[in-house]
Symmetry: C2
Amino acid sequence: MSTPSESRARLVATARDLYASQGVGATSPRQVLAASGVGQGSLYHHFPAKHDLALAAISATVADSLSAAARELRGERPALDRLRAYLERPRDTANGCRIGRHTSDQAVMSDAVLAAEVGSYFSGLVERLTEVFVEAGLPDGAASDRAYAALAIVQGGYVLARALTDPTAMQRAVRGFVSLLTSVPEETQ
Amino acid sequence: MSTPSESRARLVATARDLYASQGVGATSPRQVLAASGVGQGSLYHHFPAKHDLALAAISATVADSLSAAARELRGERPALDRLRAYLERPRDTANGCRIGRHTSDQAVMSDAVLAAEVGSYFSGLVERLTEVFVEAGLPDGAASDRAYAALAIVQGGYVLARALTDPTAMQRAVRGFVSLLTSVPEETQ
DNA sequence: GTCTATAACATGATAGAC
DNA sequence: GTCTATCATGTTATAGAC
C-alpha cells in the first residue's frame, strides 16, 4: 500500500474474478496479465511470486465476504428471521463459493498461509452464526452444532448445484433445512 | 476391457488415489506414471489422452461410492435409523469427498463427459435419500427437499472440516442436522 | 503392450533496459 | 513502475523401436 498503483488494483481485481470462476491452481499469472491488460513486468514488480498475488486476492475476498455476512446476520429483526434471510439469499451457484471452493484447490491448501486465510473465513462465519442461534435461545453447544449445520447447508448447496448444474439444488437444500428449523417445538429452539 | 492388463489396472488405481488427494487438474500423467511404476508408453497405449484416464478413474469411483451408499441406505432397520447411520459414518475429512471435490476442479467441470459423471453420482444419491425420507412418511416434495439437505450436510461438512482442518466440524454439522430431524414432531415427519 | 526419445507448448519466474 | 526478452522446468502428448 505504499504506492496504491492502478495496475496493482487491476491485477488483484482480475485475479479475484478468475479465482472465483476457475480456482487458483488453474489460473496462471499469464492469464491474469492478459485479462487485466497489465504488463508482465508490473505483475512481478507488485507480486514477486504467484503466492503473493493469491494472498492479496484471497484475503480481500475473505474480508469482503465476512463483513457482508456480519452485516446480514445482525440487525433488528428476530434472530431466526435473519438466519433464514441469510440462508435464502441468492447465491452464485454457477461458480460455487468464492472461498469454499478453495478447499479442494491444491494450490491453496498446500500453502499454509493461504489455507489459514480460508480457515479464518469459516471460523468467522461459525462465530457469527453461533451468536445468532444463541440469541435465538439455544444453549451454547447446540447453537454451535446448528451453526455448523447451517454453514454446511450453504457450502453443500453450492456443491450440489454445481454437480447437478441446477441452481434449485441450493434452494431445495436450504428449504429442507429451514423447514426443520421452523417446525421444531419452541422449547427445543 | 478387451485385455484386462495389469498395467491398466494399476494406472487406474493410482489415478483414483491421486485424484482423491490432489484433484484431477493438479495431477499430471507423469505423476501417475511415477506413482504406479508403469512406463510412459503403457499409459498412452491404454489412455490416449488425460481425459480417458480421468474418465476411467472417476467413473470407477462413482460406481463404487454409489453402490456402497445404496447398500447402506437400504436394509431392515427403520428408515431414519439407516439415514442417521449414513450421515454419522466416519469419512475421510482430510481429503474431502472423492467425487464432490471435483465440482471445484476446472479440469473436470470443463469436460462435459467428466462433469456428467459427477452429476450422475449426486443424482443417484438424491434418489436413494429421497426414497428413505418417503419411506419415513414424508410427502414427495418434502422428502426431496430433505434429501438435498442431508446431502448438503455431508458435502458441506467436508468443506468445513477441510477449511478448519478439524474433523469434528463434519460431526458437528451432522449432529446439528440430526438433532433437528429427531426433535421434529411425528406428524410433520 | 511396453520401452526410450523427443516434440510443442505452457508455466512461473528473472534480467536488464527505459 | 513498466516494458520486452528470455529461461528452466513441467505438461501433454507423439514417434518409432522392440
